[in-house]
């Protein structure tokens, strides 16, 4: 079940990544795309909650949701401005390398200790992100 969820997350986020490429190809207005993205996601989540009767209210859940909404919006806006000011490849690499933060949090805050094999896998992920970022930068040149 856990690996099915992970595959679903990877496919869904890959489609999201492809939509960024599509919006560039179709010369879409970025702010419009972002607005309709968040609007559609709101409707989809509302429909999911209503259909599965999971729209249970909790003060902590609402606060966490609002904090994540602020972070999500800030992240999108900061990335868009950074990409406009500098090289997209650098911005893209840096934003992907942010996975270091939840990994550190999982080790330091929640006490999840990776095995040596997992450490090698983590290092290879970071190497892959940097290498692909360099390749994008070279293609842009």
């Amino acid at each position: 079940m856990s690996y099915l969820c992970m595959i679903l997350a990877v496919i869904a986020f890959a489609v999201l990544g492809v939509t960024y490429k599509l919006s560039d190809r179709l010369a879409c207005h970025k702010q419009q795309v972002n607005f309709f993205m968040f609007l559609t996601a709101s409707v989809a989540v509302l429909a999911w909650g209503v259909l599965t009767r999971q729209l249970l209210l909790s003060e902590r859940a609402v606060i966490l949701g609002l904090v994540m909404g602020l972070i999500c919006c800030g992240s999108v806006v900061a990335f868009r401005h950074a990409a406009a000011l500098g090289r997209i490849s650098t911005s893209w690499t840096v934003i992907n390398l942010a996975l270091v933060l939840p990994v550190l949090a999982s080790i330091l805050v929640w006490g999840e200790m990776p095995s040596p094999k997992h450490c090698v896998g983590l290092a290879l992920t970071l190497a892959a992100i940097v290498l692909l970022g360099i390749d994008i930068g070279r293609a842009q040149e």
Binding site: F13, G65, G86, V94, L99, E112, L124
Partner: protein, 137 residues
């Protein structure tokens, strides 16, 4: 704001969003995933609407359809990530999701958009595939 500060802000916020996904399970809020996501997306919709209205550009059909596809995939990706972050350690979940997504996007770029890839890109794909095998094994 300077480019470096924007990049740093982007790095921290994107990382914090993933920490938030893990926090849902750690705070025992797994039964409230739809509510967390609903409030997250509604607030983001309100905040982005200001920028869109201020630009006063005519809304295009392409932006609506691309945005809708992005929205559905974002909602599914977030819900699945939160669920899996509750089942597996964060040092597996986030590298596999981030690395796997990158690999698929690069491969789609090669196959569909006819993008070219160099030696660094090929090395990156091999490293990413090896990382996923090691992390998920």
């Amino acid at each position: 704001m300077t480019y470096r500060r924007l990049l740093a802000l982007s790095f921290v916020l994107n990382g914090l969003l993933m920490v938030g996904m893990k926090a849902v399970g750690e705070l025992r809020l797994s039964a409230f995933i739809p509510i967390v996501l609903l409030f997250q997306y509604v607030l983001a919709t309100v905040l982005t609407s200001k920028g869109m209205l201020r630009s006063r550009k005519p809304i295009t059909h392409a932006a609506i359809w691309v945005g809708a596809l992005a929205g559905i995939s974002s909602a599914i990706g977030m819900a699945a990530s939160i669920a899996v972050a509750n089942m597996l350690p964060g040092y597996i979940v986030f590298p596999v999701i981030q690395g796997g997504t990158l690999l698929i996007v690069v491969l789609v770029g090669l196959a569909v958009f006819r993008e070219r890839i160099g030696a660094y890109g090929i090395a990156g794909i091999i490293a990413g595939a090896a990382a996923i095998v090691l992390l998920s094994g």
